[in-house]
């Protein structure tokens, strides 16, 4: 592909502060017995790890099950696992064999996303920064990512809550 235009796309950055020591927060990110208890995007989902080799160069495979029984499989490839403060990984939609799938509902979503988790302990609490960045996005992928990001602060979430309530009644 003759792509002379370098696409610059700002990452999405999430920051949190947890009332917990840094090692526990790091373990929660890197041990499946912890991960299965929180690594899902909505209350009511369940999460199950079928494999977990969580170290630099390793990978894990887990599924999330929605309340209506829909299974989403995710393959995670770990680039950097440095206890207790750094974790870098890429996550992919996959099937249950761990084969990476294109995103069927959203074909122009960036194919590769890197998540970088940085932890820092400050006076008994742990600060977390998660940097979520598309890897070498095409122009279309960059636009899709931007379009989704713009929804965070636009009252769209409220709208979606309303939609969600409506959809539940069907």
């Amino acid at each position: 592909m003759d792509n002379k235009n370098i696409i610059t796309l700002e990452p999405s950055i999430f920051t949190r502060e947890f009332n917990a020591p840094i090692q526990l927060v790091f373990d929660a990110w890197t041990q499946p017995e912890h991960l299965k208890n929180w690594m899902f995007p909505q209350a009511g989902f369940t999460c199950e790890y079928v494999s977990a080799d969580i170290k630099s160069g390793g990978s894990s495979l887990h599924k999330m099950i929605t309340p209506d029984g829909y299974e989403m499989w995710l393959l995670t490839k770990y680039e950097e696992v440095n206890s207790p403060d750094t974790l870098v990984f890429r996550q992919y939609n996959s099937n249950q064999a761990g084969d990476i799938l294109p995103n069927m509902q959203m074909p122009t979503w960036p194919k590769e996303m890197r998540a970088t988790v940085k932890l820092e302990e400050v006076g008994g609490t742990t600060k977390l920064q998660l940097i979520w960045q598309a890897i070498d996005p095409t122009k279309e992928e960059a636009e899709t990512f931007e379009a989704s990001r713009s929804q965070h602060g636009n009252g769209w979430n409220g709208g979606f809550e309303q939609l969600a309530i409506y959809l539940e009644t069907l």
Binding site: R16, N19, A28, N37, Q105, L128, Q151, G159, L163, Y166
Partner: protein
């Protein structure tokens, strides 16, 4: 810049705030063009333009009743988008919420056990 794909892609169709507002109005109830003009305080051409995009991506469907056309949300098309939005947009912020709850749980257990 060229955004010609809007009509092919439900998600990009929804990237436009006016179309989201229109969709949210239609979630509440079915409406005719005139009713939308009244509720949204937009011109009729503007309403028709946005309705036409939402129709082309299948997010809104229309039916005829006498000389009126009545528009409603097509939930079957919206549902996968809602799943998608949950999965990607709210993925990290919601997961981090769960992490916080979980860390508090784990630590309160440790205190009790100890």
């Amino acid at each position: 810049m060229a955004r010609a794909r809007t009509t092919f892609d439900p998600f990009n169709a929804l990237a436009e705030p006016k179309r989201r507002a229109l969709l949210e109005a239609l979630v509440v109830k079915e409406l005719t063009v005139n009713q939308i003009v009244e509720i949204m305080k937009w011109s009729q051409p503007m309403v028709s333009k946005h309705l036409s995009v939402l129709k082309q991506v299948g997010l809104v469907s229309e039916r005829k009743e006498g000389r009126y056309r009545i528009y409603k949300v097509n939930a079957a098309q919206l549902k996968p988008i809602q799943k998608w939005v949950i999965q990607f947009e709210q993925y990290w912020s919601n997961s981090l919420d769960h992490l916080e709850v979980y860390l508090n749980e784990v630590q309160s257990k440790e205190v009790k056990d100890g």
